[in-house]
């Protein structure tokens, strides 16, 4: 004890004391912090699991039976595809209130949990289902996809899919590094500001072609110098 008391005026003592205090507060917080409710996903009934997950994690904003509240829209009739898109790209659960939900790399739920929530939402009313792998990854016509993309999508997402601004802080996100499944689901569900492009508007082949076009644009080598965000002649003109 005497050794400690003798060193109490050591220059490092205050730093050590602060560190100990912070560690103590952190450890205590982690013991008492509220944990996100987790429903068991082992049971066979996906809809029941999804309902439990929904009520524990989504009902605050979307309402206890997904009828919608002032903070979030109703999910009746949005379909499993909307759940798979919003949760699968990390947009939901919303990390903070904002004009629009941003894409987040770190997805909060496992694919199993997302499917369970999708099954619950789909059980409320018919809506677009999650497209199967064969539809999403079908070989598309890149030239047709390019034409469809330029007519239907490029005004918001830019001709090369690098995104662009909308009104009042909203924006159309860049389409690089997005899974083909999620691009497909965005087209059939029309998330947030985006309009719906269902199969009556652009058929499954057209959608596969659009995805093929985007993947081609994304992977083509950049033979020039800096691409300036692929924003087109305006930004390029500014730098020449």
């Amino acid at each position: 004890m005497n050794a400690l008391a003798a060193r109490r005026r050591h220059p490092a003592a205050i730093a050590l004391l602060l560190f100990l205090g912070l560690a103590l507060v952190g450890a205590t917080y982690s013991l008492f912090a509220p944990k996100p409710a987790q429903a068991a996903v082992a049971t066979a009934d996906k809809v029941a699991d999804g309902k439990a997950l929904f009520q524990a994690n989504c009902a605050t904003c979307h309402g206890i039976s997904a009828e919608g509240t002032k903070s979030g829209p109703t999910l009746i009739g949005v379909g499993a595809a909307a759940v798979d898109f919003q949760v699968g790209t990390g947009r939901m659960p919303l990390s903070a209130p904002n004009v629009q939900a941003p894409r987040i790399e770190q997805v909060k739920y496992s694919q199993e949990q997302i499917e369970a929530m999708g099954a619950f939402v789909a059980s409320l009313a018919p809506g677009p289902a999650v497209p199967d792998k064969a539809t999403v990854e079908a070989e598309g016509d890149v030239a047709l996809g390019g034409e469809l993309f330029r007519v239907n999508c490029s005004m918001c997402h830019n001709f090369a899919g690098s995104g662009g601004a909308l009104t009042r802080g909203k924006y159309a996100p860049a389409l690089y590094g997005v899974e083909a499944k999620h691009i497909y689901e965005a087209m059939i569900t029309g998330p947030q500001s985006m309009p719906v492009f269902d199969d009556k508007n652009i058929d499954a082949k057209g959608k596969a072609s659009i995805i093929s076009y985007l993947k081609t644009v994304e992977t083509q080598p950049n033979v020039g110098g800096m691409n300036l965000g692929n924003m087109g002649p305006v930004s390029e003109g500014m730098f020449i």
């Binding site: 034409e147 005004m155 918001c156 909308l166 009104t167 159309a172 309009p195 719906v196 033979v223 020039g224």
Partner: protein, 342 residues
């Protein structure tokens, strides 16, 4: 008016006394400046060598990660950087040389008078008169007249071409007022998808959907791009309750079909394609100058430089359930022009 404290005339203060630079007085400073200039020129020399070496040494398909630029072609970056340093070295070296070592004393060089002396002037006039006399310009008026006319008339072909290229003003105005939506034979025109050119059933348009639409007459068009530039239409379906309850909202709804409405895609500001439809706010945004139109109130301008709402295309369905336009636009589409009424 005049301040009594001020003198009647100001004296010319002349140039301020010259201040010598460090390099003019201190041999060590001059030596330092010399080394700096030589250093800049050496940087240019090394960069030029670097340019030539990388031109031959780096393959033109090598990609590399460059901070702030991303993964890009290495050769382009190296060539660009070395070329820039080579030129900057020469430029900065020359400027630094001029500013530190070259003489900087002000020198006044008086300009000689512009007027020539009388003798030279008389001589020049004499030369001109002798030339005109030897060409027989005054003695042969026929040559003078025909040469003048020939030279004068030569301006006409240029003028005729210019005037002709302006076109027939009446026809040009008609083209501004008409689109290929105008019904010629009383038969309503079907709406077709922009890329596939297939007709659209009203039942195919779900709420929140957007279709980029052309008239079916585009198939017979001889000038597809010109016609498309005026006839492009955006088709949206809103929930019928989403329309505003006022007159504008009622008009928009009544010109549509079950909440499906069609508007010209050509901005009334300077004619950009207005295509950014936000299905939650029902706002249409023009990407060029951010003019924003409210679809629930007949595309009224709510933000930006556009002065008029987008013209609505009246639509209905035919016997087979396909969307048709029974008449063309009620007003000219696109930006304003002088002869427009409003």
């Amino acid at each position: 008016m005049s301040d009594p404290r001020l003198p009647a005339t100001f004296e010319n203060p002349g140039l301020p006394p010259h201040v010598h630079r460090a390099a003019d007085t201190d041999p060590r400073a001059a030596k330092r400046a010399e080394r700096q200039v030589a250093g800049l020129f050496t940087l240019s020399i090394l960069s030029t060598i670097g340019f030539i070496v990388s031109y031959f040494a780096v393959k033109n398909d090598t990609e590399a990660f460059i901070p702030f630029i991303g993964t890009t072609n290495l050769l382009n970056v190296l060539l660009g950087v070395f070329l820039a340093l080579a030129l900057l070295g020469i430029g900065f070296g020359a400027v630094h040389w001029a500013k530190t070592l070259m003489p900087d004393e002000e020198v006044v060089e008086e300009r000689h008078p512009i007027r020539s002396d009388d003798e030279s002037r008389a001589k020049a006039v004499g030369l001109l008169e002798a030339g005109a006399e030897s060409a027989q310009l005054n003695r042969r008026p026929l040559l003078k007249a025909t040469a003048g006319t020939a030279l004068g008339l030569f301006a006409l072909p240029l003028g005729v071409q210019l005037a002709g290229s302006l076109g027939n003003p009446t026809k040009a105005l008609d083209e501004l007022k008409s689109t290929i939506w105008d019904v010629k034979d009383g038969k309503p025109i079907r709406l077709v998808r922009d890329v596939e050119r297939t007709p659209i059933k009203a039942a195919d348009v779900s709420i929140g959907a957007v279709f980029h639409v052309l008239p079916e007459t585009i198939k017979e068009s001889h000038h597809v791009l010109e016609d498309k530039a005026k006839a492009a239409v955006l088709l949206m379906r809103l929930h019928p309750n989403d329309f505003a309850a006022d007159d504008l909202g009622k008009k928009a709804k009544s010109w549509g079909y079950e909440g499906i409405v069609a508007y010209s895609k050509i901005c009334t500001h300077v004619g950009c394609p207005v295509g950014l439809y936000e299905q939650q706010t029902h706002h249409l945004l023009c990407p060029c100058h951010q003019s924003t139109f409210d679809v629930t109130r007949d595309c009224e301008v709510i933000f930006g430089p556009a002065k008029r709402p987008l013209p609505q295309l009246k639509i209905t369905v035919d016997a087979e359930g396909y969307l048709v336009a029974p008449q063309g636009f009620a007003e000219p589409v696109g930006p304003s022009y002088w002869e427009r009424k409003k």
